[in-house]
């Protein structure tokens, strides 16, 4: 089982879209796949039409009162399951803080699922917190979408420093450009100049596109309503590149 966390300190950079679309592609390849929606906003739960509700909320979840397996919902797609969000996840930090070894908590909860799933995607809320530290411990890959702006690049540097300082040796950082707008001069320039400098920056760009935006109306992964086009190809290339790294 490989755990892939989509994470960025910044909000609205395409984390959830990435999670939903990559998980869909993994399942399509026949891998048993789970999406864990850790964001109280419940965006990925929404895309899969699963009610953002967890029995007992964050407290029961973190306490491990129920096995995670009992909270999982099958999506409309073969091999693809979802562990939904709950509004109480807004207190996840407090709940975690009340425990011993809070940062090891997610890893521990995921362990019993190791035989059942090939890939687990963690859809994380933005910002850096105790939860994100727990995510870093649990994940094998930290997948970070970045919008091609100078500010975004700075946050990526911050993240790298954090990983280094906290000696998260088993965590591999992979980033890629997300929501890149070909009409914006700055986007083009940054992609052109930075693409080759960073080993952890994939040579793949997810374009800013209306078919991706439509996921919100369709309430399903991109691949479930379009089979062709630049966006579909970009996500496929991204998934292949990640598989290569693993």
């Amino acid at each position: 089982m490989k755990v892939i966390a989509t994470y960025n300190i910044k909000g609205g950079v395409g984390k959830t879209s990435t999670t939903v679309n990559l998980a869909y592609l993994a399942a399509k390849n026949g891998y048993q796949t789970l999406v864990w929606d850790l964001d109280p906003q419940g965006a990925s739960s929404y895309y899969f039409r699963v009610k953002p509700k967890v029995k007992g909320g964050s407290k029961a979840l973190i306490a491990g009162k129920r096995e995670l397996d009992g909270l999982i919902k099958g999506t409309d797609f073969d091999y693809l399951d979802l562990l939904p969000a709950d509004f109480s996840f807004r207190n996840l930090d407090l709940v975690l803080d009340a425990r011993k070894k809070p940062t090891q908590r997610l890893q521990k909860l995921l362990k019993p699922l190791a035989d059942e799933y090939d890939y687990v995607f963690l859809d994380c809320p933005p910002n850096i917190s105790l939860l994100s530290e727990a995510v870093f411990e649990a994940a094998d890959i930290l997948l970070s979408p970045i919008i091609p702006t100078t500010l975004s690049l700075r946050t990526l540097e911050q993240l790298k420093r954090f990983i280094k300082e906290n000696k998260l040796k088993n965590l591999e950082l992979i980033s890629f450009f997300s929501m890149a707008d070909q009409r914006k001069k700055m986007h083009k320039e940054i992609i052109a100049s930075l693409g080759k400098q960073h080993a952890d920056l994939l040579d793949i760009v997810i374009p800013y596109a209306s078919d991706i935006e439509k996921m919100g109306i369709k309430r399903m992964p991109l691949g479930a309503y379009t089979q062709k086009g630049r966006s579909v190809e970009a996500y496929q290339a991204l998934w292949q590149a990640i598989l290569q790294r693993i």
Partner: protein
């Protein structure tokens, strides 16, 4: 969640389309697929899947072919895999939970088609107010066997499945399936499951005249020979020949054990015939055994040497093809067919022998005599006794085993089972001892033959050498083991059972 039934039958007055229309009025649903398909059922010749409450289906439609394993009684799906052709052997399947399960049960037996049905398939999604699918329905509308329906629950939506179950049973008057479709289909063909088993299951009466009883035994054995004949000729899998040979050996054993009943002429004539049948089938069987053992052989070698045995496999397979051709020719020959036909006719004729012996008396005497012989032969064996003595004892044990299996139904089941089991253990160690020796010698012989082949190189001979050594170690272990097994066989409690079942009566009749 309490387990709910997932498979249903539509009542006769309801067809698939009408049902879907009715369902749509009760719950939000959508027909997502409808297509023609063919469903073929598979099992081994000896019904290993059916015995394990499993049904193997191969489903073919325009856009997908799927091998599915279901629990027969409930029709629940246990495992499935996408594959373009039904496999002949489980080991030919790509590794998956399905192949594990099949391999475990079928071992070396081939999967054979039982029957093929035509049907129309409908797939429906049941959804909630968010248009989220919360359960699926699969409808199978068979051309001649009615219409069946299965709920396919979705993880985490147990309640939806339960509600759907209620809806189907209470409001749409569906019937929970009690009988698997396979049974209905077989019945329509005049067949029954488990119409073949390699085990003897004779129901005999103690008081029947012995000459009548042994005719029943011979007829049953003859029947098994005939049932396995075609599969042996076609070499569908190794077990046709195996069962064929076991019946021959049992018949031969009968002819020598029941000498007193038929005339000398008959006994000699057919003993010779069945001895001949045994001999013409033995090479093919030996090669089967080596080929079946190959995985074990490999496993006994160091990892680095295992693949070096591959040329041996090819050598054996080539030999087997030649032996099989010869065998097939012999089994279609006049000599084989004519004499077997005569034997059949002879058994059909009403008994003319003059005997007052009942079957039970015959059974008691024979079993008791052979048992005494085992005790005698076994007790003189020490570590120093030549191997031949153990081989002879093995043969005697086999005779006793056949006798007890023939006459099982004449004795209390629980007691005879205990005796057969303890005999089995003794036979196992004697069998090992001899088999390892035979295999060692065969490997030596094969390596000599393989010397002349250009394609075989030193590492192969080296691997075969190591294998001979491993077999020799195992042979020595078996020999060591013998003393303990023999003591276990002749425990006072076993002796007492033997005596109580077979000895008293013998004395009375004398």
């Amino acid at each position: 969640m309490t387990k709910i039934a997932l498979s249903f039958e539509l009542p006769a007055n309801l067809n698939a389309e009408k049902f879907i229309a009715k369902l749509a009025k009760k719950t939000p649903c959508e027909l997502v697929q409808q297509h023609y398909a063919q469903k073929s059922f598979y099992d081994s010749f000896d019904w290993r899947l059916y015995d394990a409450n499993l049904t193997c289906e191969f489903n073919q439609s325009k856009d997908a072919t799927l091998l599915v394993l279901k629990r027969t009684s409930t029709a629940d799906i246990i495992a499935s895999t996408v594959i373009d052709k039904a496999p002949i052997f489980a080991k030919d399947l790509p590794i998956s939970p399905l192949s594990d399960k099949l391999l475990n049960l079928l071992e070396m037996r081939a999967l054979l088609p039982l029957t093929t049905l035509e049907l129309q398939i409908y797939k429906l999604n049941i959804f909630n107010e968010d248009q989220k699918t919360i359960a699926r329905l699969l409808i199978e509308d068979y051309t001649n066997f009615g219409c069946r329906l299965a709920i396919q629950p979705i993880k985490g939506y147990d309640k939806a499945a339960t509600n759907l179950h209620q809806l189907l049973v209470k409001h749409l008057s569906l019937i929970v399936i009690r009988k698997p479709i396979l049974l209905a289909v077989l019945k329509s063909q005049g067949r029954k499951p488990k119409d073949y088993s390699s085990k003897l299951n004779l129901q005999l009466k103690p008081t029947m005249p012995a000459n009548k009883g042994i005719r029943i035994i011979y007829k049953t054995l003859l029947n098994t020979i005939k049932i396995n004949e075609q599969g042996t000729i076609d070499a569908i899998d190794s077990e046709f020949l195996h069962d064929f040979r076991v019946s021959i050996r049992r018949t031969r054993s009968g002819l020598s054990q029941f000498k007193a009943i038929f005339s000398n002429n008959i006994n000699t004539h057919y003993s010779q015939y069945f001895a001949w049948l045994g001999s013409i089938t033995s090479l093919s069987r030996d090669l089967d055994v080596y080929l079946l053992n190959i995985d074990d052989y490999k496993a006994s070698l160091p990892k680095s040497m295992r693949e070096d045995l591959n040329p041996l496999i090819i050598f054996l397979q080539t030999k087997k093809i030649i032996a099989q051709k010869k065998l097939a020719k012999k089994l279609t020959s006049k000599k084989y067919l004519q004499t077997l036909g005569q034997w059949e006719d002879y058994l059909k004729q009403p008994p003319t022998e003059n005997t007052s012996l009942t079957l039970k008396q015959l059974a008691d005497t024979r079993i008791w005599t052979v048992y005494q012989r085992i005790l005698k032969e076994g007790s003189v064996i020490t570590q120093q006794t030549p191997a031949q003595a153990l081989h002879d004892l093995r043969k005697t044990c086999k005779k006793l085993r056949y006798l007890m299996e023939f006459f099982q139904s004449l004795y209390p089941t629980s007691k005879i089972k205990i005796l057969i089991k303890s005999l089995k253990n003794l036979q196992a160690v004697l069998g090992d001892f001899q088999d390892y020796e035979v295999q060692e010698n065969a490997l030596r012989k094969f390596s000599e033959e393989m010397m002349h082949l250009q394609s075989v190189s030193t590492p192969t001979f080296l691997a075969m050498g190591v294998l001979v050594q491993k077999l020799d170690e195992k042979r020595c272990q078996a020999r060591h083991h013998f003393a303990k097994c023999f003591i276990e066989f002749k425990t006072p409690s076993n002796q007492a059972i033997f005596k109580s079942l077979f000895a008293m009566q013998t004395r009375e009749t004398k």
